[in-house]
């Protein structure tokens, strides 16, 4: 028999599931958009850089380089959509009603994050399947499991980070501005679309300080083998610290920023 905690977590997940499966808008942003990046933007640049793209000491096709970027973008995008969902929920009042439901704040967050992780796994499987079947990306299958784990951890980190902000912002216009700025700054000041070696010093420094770079580099290492193990371990550690800090930031916001 299900205990109350499991029942509550499943209820949160069921709610997310119904929202996602009854709306094409959500399905597009969570699942389709990253794939269109891979299949349109990726293919375009793959043809433009026909001789391949050099990252570190390796030269690979742009599609292979970009695969990790799409996985990372999907984690980031799913987290943004969930943060936006948090904001909408608070804006229309249902969020406060949730807080009167017979569940703890932790169960609420766990339900949310578990659904997001499942969504990101589905997204990663779709992206990897498309990449290998349609674009013939030479995937390192022996570390594919690590790629899935990386996607889950990445989704968690961004979910906690962005949700903390979504719960703090009061105004729709402010939140939209924040999300747009975060989207452009974090996506383009990172290794998501291009290698960092050729960038100007200031942009390279900014990109190295960006958790999206850490996440993308780890995923790139485990999917196509670009990167050095020493650097990847440091980046993975840095991302775990980012995840931990973001988790406490989100929990604190939920406990003290919302319930005053």
């Amino acid at each position: 028999m299900e205990g109350p905690a499991v029942t509550m977590i499943l209820a949160v997940m069921y709610r997310e599931y119904r929202i996602r499966t009854t709306s094409l808008t959500w399905a597009f942003y969570d699942l389709i958009m990253p794939l269109t990046y891979l299949l349109l933007f990726g293919i375009g640049l793959d043809r433009a850089f026909a001789s391949g793209i050099t990252a570190g000491d390796r030269t690979v096709g742009y599609n292979a380089f970009f695969l990790a970027g799409v996985l990372s973008m999907a984690s980031f995008g799913i987290a943004i959509n969930t943060a936006y969902g948090f904001f909408v929920d608070r804006d229309n009042g249902i969020f406060y009603e949730f807080l009167t439901y017979p569940m703890t704040r932790a169960q609420f967050l766990v339900g949310k994050i578990m659904f997001n992780c499942i969504l990101s796994i589905v997204q990663a499987v779709l992206t990897i399947s498309m990449g290998t079947l349609l674009l013939s990306i030479p995937l390192h299958w022996e570390t594919a499991g690590l790629a899935i784990a990386g996607v889950i951890v990445g989704t968690g980190g961004w979910f906690f980070f962005l949700s903390g902000f979504a719960l703090r912002f009061r105004r729709n216009d402010m939140f939209n501005t924040f999300i747009n700025i975060a989207y452009f700054l974090l996506m383009f000041a990172s290794s998501l679309f291009y290698p960092l070696e050729g960038l100007p010093d200031w942009l390279r420094a900014a990109s190295f300080a960006n958790p999206l770079t850490w996440h993308t580099d780890v995923l790139r290492f485990v999917t196509v083998g670009i990167g050095t193990p020493g650097t990847i371990v440091i980046e993975a550690g840095a991302f775990l610290v980012f995840l931990t800090v973001s988790f406490f930031f989100a929990v604190r916001t939920l406990q003290h920023g919302v319930v005053k």
């Binding site: 209820a11 406060y96 017979p102």
Partner: protein, 355 residues
Amino acid sequence: MPEIGPVSLILLTNRCRFIDWACTHPVLAISMSNLAILVEDLVKVYEERTDHPVRALDGLSLVVRQGEIFGLLGRNGAGKTTLLRILTTLSRPTAGTVTVLGLDVVQQSYAVRRQLCAVLQENAVEIFLSVEDNLSTYARFHSIPRREIGARAGAVMEQFGLREYRTQKVIDLSGGLKRRLQVAKVFMVDKPLVFLDEATTGMDPINRRTTLDAIREQARKGRTIFLTTHMLEEAEELCDTIAIIDKGKRLAVGDPRTVKSFGSRVVDIRVTYAPPGPASVARLSPFPLMRLEHRNTTIDVALDADRISPFEVLQELGRLGTVVNLEVTEGSLEDAFFELLGSKGDTPAPWRDRP
């Protein structure tokens, strides 16, 4: 022996700081376990650490008994929503104690939430889900067995006239329908305590009546209903106990008759004139009336009999035209409300002329 009303009860419980919930109260000889809510010296201050702290609740004490419909009245900013937020664990008290069914709302907030369901002031509905999905997700959050959810949702949709919108996304519904759905949700579950914050706001008269009937039915089944409303007639009709608060303090509490007695010096007069209606109502301006409403051929007046003779006012009203009907009644809850708030020095607009 005089009956001990809720007013006395609160005065006594205020002196009794440490109450053993399971025991019989030593003075009142009633079991404390019959109480649904006990609020003692509750203080809530917002922006506490700033130069301009806001004291939303200021030493408020209330008692709500199990199975009763309790109405909380007050103007905007009186502290109603703040109290509701504390009772539903959405907010923490600055000082004082609040127990819900014997559970402390701060120390045992999770256990408190297991006993209640709430309709909050906002249109709290799942805008991206259909009407039916809203009901079924709500039921899941309240641990209703899956096999029962469909039947309950069907019955609730039928009761609240939502069946034809069953598959429609809530984002496409009107404000009134959203509100109806929000209220309907609490009837999906069987929690012993129901909080309704201005539940009937925005509803048409038919749905308002349905909602009031449903609330009454739930109270008959033993659920405790705690509601806030701006509609005084609704509170008078529905509630077993009414409390009026202002600026975070309690002004009056008791059954509707007791609270109305705070306005017992108030006399309501309604005069209907033959067409074309009364001459200028400005002739009544020398009288310090509590309320004057003029609509078509009818004039409604409320006055404080301690300050003005009703007969003088009646004489003057008689001079305004040919009287075809005259009603003189004791004060209503609305009169008591105005009088109580007015006694604090800022009566809310007693003179109202309707075209």
